[in-house]
């Protein structure tokens, strides 16, 4: 097969490439346009997060979690806070739990809207990018009004949330609940029945459910592979059991199905936010947590359903106010490991589409 080997081209995608979503580098080898291997090379954004956290107090770590998945910082806050609260045995007031659910679901919507923009832009539909971002803008405005930040929001504290939801913010959320379905419909109108979009996504980047499970794929990608696994329903946290929502499941496990799952998830998130707003209980928005929180020795793992998949934190405490060891299970990192399997045998152009459908954020991959 000497002639075959001759035709093989090694191509370096990134770290400066327009569609690797940050500083990801892919070592790709292609035969003409057919992909033979894809190897992600990581580490360009490594900041030593896990080690850094060992020198910070439990409270000081929260703003650092913003920098993991920077498109969904509230979800990171929530995952971390829940883990520490579980370890320290802190009881979170019901109202705070509901506000957390509202914030986390709004964040999921913002994250998915950014995702559909990037994803569509990767396959060449650049208008959708702007539509997605314009829709996301109103969510960022809510976060800004609520906590002051737009991207790295830092909107949760140990024991609850820093501020109560006031009338202004509730009004803004109600308004967004009205406008977002229209944006989603607009985006779907541009994509769902578009022949080119269909062709670029249908049957592309397939991974069988068994392999997906073996690779640890979670989140919308796993649900697109026919597995109805959603931590919000299966291992509820922060009062998710109070709300009524569906878990969209598709079976073809291709890029198109990941698109359908995420679009439907957005509608379900709107449903959850609406319910939470209507039934918002009265009471405190934050529990009394000592400023110097010393947690007796112990270890714990807790995970939540972040927009990208299962986001888990493992924390070992040693009796001081700083954790002895922290380990993150970041969904983007683990989902990325399925990339080669999804891309093999597809065409070179499909790499960007498949990569887009995984919805990775480099801040979370490199930590």
């Amino acid at each position: 097969m000497a002639s075959k080997a001759f035709k093989e081209i090694d191509l370096n995608m990134g770290p400066q490439h327009p569609s690797t979503h940050g500083v990801l580098r892919l070592k790709v080898s292609i035969d003409n346009e057919v992909v033979l291997h894809v190897e992600p090379v990581l580490g360009y954004l490594h900041r030593g997060m896990e080690k850094l956290w060992e020198s910070q107090t439990y409270h000081q770590i929260i703003p650092l979690t913003d920098r993991l998945d920077y498109l969904a910082s509230l979800s990171n806050n929530l995952g971390y806070c829940l883990t520490v609260e579980k370890l320290a045995g802190i009881e979170v007031p019901k109202r705070a739990q509901y506000i957390r659910v509202i914030l986390a679901e709004l964040q999921r919507l913002a994250s998915h809207l950014a995702w559909i923009g990037f994803m569509a832009n990767d396959v060449g539909a650049m208008t959708v990018l702007l539509y997605g971002f314009e829709a996301r803008e109103s969510f960022l405005d809510i976060f800004e009004t609520y906590a002051g930040g737009r991207l790295t929001i830092h909107g949760m504290r140990l024991g609850g949330v820093p501020f109560d939801l006031d009338e202004t913010v509730i009004g803004m959320i109600r308004k967004v609940l009205e406008t977002t379905p229209k944006w989603i419909a607009d985006i779907e109108g541009l994509l769902t029945d578009n022949r080119i979009w269909r062709h670029r996504t249908e049957g592309i980047g397939i991974i069988p459910q068994s392999d997906a499970l073996e690779n640890g794929l979670t989140g919308p990608c796993l649900r697109a592979a026919g597995m109805a696994w959603d931590l919000r329903r299966d291992l509820p946290y922060s009062s998710y059991e109070d709300f009524d929502f569906d878990i969209p499941v598709r079976t073809a496990s291709d890029v198109l199905d990941r698109y359908f799952v995420r679009m439907e998830e957005m509608r379900q998130s709107l449903r959850i936010v609406r319910q939470a707003l209507d039934r918002l209980p009265a009471g405190e928005h934050i529990a009394k947590v000592p400023r110097t929180l010393r947690i007796p020795p112990g270890e714990i793992y807790h995970s939540i359903e972040a927009p990208k998949g299962e986001l888990g934190f493992f924390i070992r405490s040693n009796g001081t106010d700083k954790p002895e060891r922290v380990k993150m299970r970041s969904p983007s990192f683990i989902n990325l490991m399925s990339l080669e399997q999804m891309c093999k045998g597809n065409l070179f152009s499909d790499i960007v589409g498949v990569l887009g459908s995984l919805d990775i954020v480099l801040g979370e991959i490199d930590k």
């Binding site: 191509l11 832009n121 702007l130 994509l191 080119i196 062709h199 670029r200 960007v352």
Partner: protein, 344 residues
């Protein structure tokens, strides 16, 4: 020969030569501005609006910036081909404009002014030929850069343009068949005599030609050779400064060229709508050149509109589209046109 006639004989060709370079350039500037503003408008943005009225001078600002940029030639590049490529692309496109008539001939005193540089009985053939010479520029540019992304862009481009030449040729044949001439002026004149635009007579030809024309200019949704999300910038990834600007300008000039061809072949060139109906005779008061510009602008707008709406085709789908659909379709279309012509 009187002095005055001599002046006409000498001056007018010089003016024409300047005009044939200026006209595409002005159209390119307008087109770049139009594209950025219209795409911005569709996407809910504002777009460039600072330089000049509504940002109309933005393309000049960009050109000045590129003009003062460092000219980088990659170390292992083939210098000769690398330098020839942008010239070839630009030259072939501009040369094709020599054969494009911009309006009816009219008389100034005793002198008949033809709004074109070169009269050729096979003008159509020359324009099509010249516009495919530009492919060589793309191949040279991609190959000489000694880089993988430009090479892949160039490979895609060659396959794409060569494939789409075929339906273009086949649809142009129907027009040539109906007008019995390859002279672009004659083609427009025969649409006046027939009283109907060829585009209305042969919608299939028009649609196939227009889509193939988009593919031939490497524009969305067929912009695979320069698919920025996959190939960074395709065949001109390694180019900088004015050489990059040449590729850029040539692409836009090519769009103007294809739009001009569509207008001439299928939409009656400088003829007003309904050229034969008496009730619409008042439309003749608007000069032919204006009609011509309006029609060209419509198709240029269509380019932008399509770009803002559709995702990009994948390579295999692109090739499938042309070989499995357009070529059989345009062949059948040709046969139907020939048959109908003899039956009716």
């Amino acid at each position: 020969m009187t002095g005055k006639a001599f002046l006409f004989e000498l001056l007018i060709p010089v003016i024409k030569i300047v005009a044939v370079i200026l006209y595409p350039m002005i159209m390119v500037v307008v087109m770049i501005w139009l594209e950025r503003r219209v795409v911005a408008w569709i996407q809910g943005r504002i777009g460039p609006n600072r330089v000049g009225w509504q940002g109309i001078l933005q393309p000049f600002a960009d050109a000045f910036k590129l003009f003062f940029k460092e000219d980088i030639i990659p170390r292992e590049a083939d210098k000769l081909l690398f330098n020839i490529a942008p010239i070839l692309v630009m030259f072939s496109t501009l040369l094709a404009f020599c054969f494009i008539p911009l309006g009816e001939s009219f008389r100034i005193g005793t002198y008949t002014l033809h709004l074109r540089i070169a009269d050729s009985p096979v003008g159509l053939l020359l324009v099509l030929g010249l516009s495919s010479i530009g492919v060589f520029g793309i191949i040279f540019g991609g190959w000489a850069s000694n880089s993988k992304y430009p090479l892949m862009g160039a490979l895609r481009s060659v396959i794409q343009i060569l494939s789409y030449e075929i339906p273009i040729g086949l649809t142009v044949l129907t027009v040539v068949f109906l007008s019995r001439s390859m002279d672009l002026v004659r083609i427009v004149e025969s649409q006046r005599e027939g009283g109907v635009w060829f585009g209305l007579l042969m919608p299939v030809s028009f649609v196939v030609f227009w889509i193939s024309g988009i593919a031939e200019t490497n524009r969305a949704p067929f912009d695979l050779p320069e698919a920025e999300n996959e190939l960074v910038a395709g065949y001109h990834t390694e180019y900088s400064g004015m050489k990059f600007a040449y590729f850029y300008i040539a692409e836009y000039a090519h769009m103007v060229l294809v739009s001009s061809l569509v207008v001439i072949l299928f939409f009656g060139g400088w003829l007003p709508p309904f050229p034969s109906i008496k009730a619409f005779a008042f439309l003749h008061w608007i000069p032919g050149f204006v009609w011509y510009l309006i029609k060209i602008m419509f198709f240029l707008y269509l380019y932008v509109w399509i770009r803002a709406t559709f995702p990009r085709y994948r390579f295999d789908a692109l090739i499938k589209l042309v070989w499995k659909w357009f070529i059989p379709l345009s062949l059948a279309n040709f046969l139907v046109v020939v048959a109908l012509r003899y039956v009716l």
